[in-house]
């Protein structure tokens, strides 16, 4: 692992250690029933963060192969969560199987072999055409459009969109070799933005952004958390090929895209009658509850960086 990466993960560990201490002190202080619930959820989240950061550090240490596999598994779990609460039918089995066993490996293999042109169209074009064909062979026409859309949507979001994060490793940026740092930048800004919005929301939140869709999101949280995450992004300019201003603007874009992802997926979740996507990560819900903002932010960050900075 290169020295910059060691410094960055050192910083993240220090931050988490600080959060753990705060969580411990709070758990001793808080007495009200509501407060105890909030703090124990907070501590569960911090514990899960240790786990997630450790997994990330290991993947980065071993390089692009392991990182790509890690994101492929993330896509797998997110897609599993998504389709588990989406009412597909037995007749959709062929399309579902193809989504899992054909398109996840293929999409991530294309990143591994550096085949960017096919990577960009595999799911929007080839899967889009193949999946409804697999479904139509079963001869069931009931709700055909809805059923086809569900699977295509699930695949776009959980595989295509999320795969844009490790795809940052593909970009060929003149004078910049350490593409892992771009991936670190993206994940750090998205997740810090989520955490800081949560913190600002808990401390100052009054005005809800979208009460029906996502009651926890407040304007105070969005503005306070979003601006601080963007500021942190700007201060990380030295690990990126960007100037401080560019880094700040890109971080701000990541924050907005991430917020949009959280909002849209919350609406999807609610339309399916669920509160969390799953129970995989204690305190956080499912894997998709952590990846919802990444799924929107990754393609936006990938394409802006590709357009303005890459060859």
């Amino acid at each position: 692992m290169n020295p910059t990466m060691v410094t960055l993960f050192g910083g993240v560990f220090a931050l988490l250690a600080f959060a753990s201490i705060v969580g411990f002190v709070l758990s001793r202080r808080v007495k009200s029933e509501n407060g105890i619930a909030t703090v124990s959820n907070l501590n569960a989240r911090i514990k899960a963060w240790w786990m997630m950061i450790a997994i990330f550090a290991v993947a980065f240490y071993f390089g692009s192969g392991v990182t790509i596999v890690l994101f492929a598994l993330t896509s797998f779990y997110c897609l599993r969560e998504f389709l588990s609460i989406t009412p597909t039918r037995a007749e959709d089995h062929g399309a579902t199987v193809a989504a899992f066993y054909l398109f996840i490996p293929l999409q991530y293999w294309l990143i591994w072999t550096d085949w960017q042109s096919l990577f960009a169209i595999l799911i929007p074009v080839w899967a889009f055409l193949l999946l409804p064909l697999l479904a139509v062979l079963k001869g069931e026409t009931e709700e055909f459009l809805t059923r086809s859309s569900r699977i295509q949507w699930a695949l776009m979001l959980n595989v295509f969109c999320i795969s844009h994060a490790p795809a940052l490793l593909l970009l060929d940026i003149p004078g910049f070799e350490e593409n892992f740092l771009l991936l670190f930048f993206l994940i750090a800004v998205v997740q810090l933005s989520d955490v800081l919005q949560y913190v600002f929301g808990k401390l100052f939140g009054k005005h809800k952004v979208a009460p029906r869709v996502s009651p926890a999101k407040t304007w105070e949280g969005l503005i306070g958390g979003g601006l601080s995450a963007s500021a942190i992004g700007a201060s990380l300019f030295w690990i990126t090929p960007f100037s401080p201003l560019e880094a700040g603007l890109l971080a701000l874009t990541i924050v907005f895209a991430g917020f949009a992802g959280g909002l849209v997926l919350s609406a999807v979740k609610r339309s399916l009658g669920a509160k969390d996507w799953g129970t995989m990560i204690e305190g956080h819900g499912g894997a998709l509850d952590r990846m919802d903002s990444v799924s929107f932010a990754a393609p936006v960050f990938f394409h802006l960086t590709n357009y303005f900075f890459a060859l």
Binding site: S84, T88, A90, H93, A274, G278
Partner: protein
Amino acid sequence: MIARIVGEAIVLLTRFLVGGHGRWRGVEPVGAQRIYFANHASHLDTIIMWAALPAHLRETTHPVAAADYWGKGALQRFIALKVLNAVLVERAKSKDPLAPLRDALEAGGSLIIFPEGTRRMEPLPGEFKAGLYHLAKGFPDVELVPVYLTNLARAFPKGAFVPAPISCVAHYGAPIALEVGEDKAEFLARARGAVIELSGEQE
């Protein structure tokens, strides 16, 4: 030894692909002698019901499986008999298909049965066959635990070759018992109702 390793591998693969976790809603996962009865949607049901049990219950619980599927090849036979500790029944030929089930209960074991007898594509179970009633009558001390399996028909529908990774959960309900004077049809309808009721409670 090999059976143990294969068993662990099957549990791991099940967790990875379809989850197969148990939700103990009406009953605790303790060692009482029981008959778990569930809706039947796929051949995976047997494995998921088995994997959803905690390890200490797996040793004493025998899934009841159809001999015409699980007894066919050497591999299926090995998995059914050595790994899952299954009791195989001849659905069509046998005069007294319940005999091996009675033997297992008399030896103190618990059973997993699918009273519909056949797999269905629909989420709710079909009519129950009489076997559950006869067992309830013959073994009044054994707890009858209804179980609802979610998503199985979507994860591994009839005629499919591989399971799709859609998470399947086993919901365990409160035990029921054969009441005094209750006739066969009433009891079977009530047992089926207990499974259906669990389907409404799933998260």
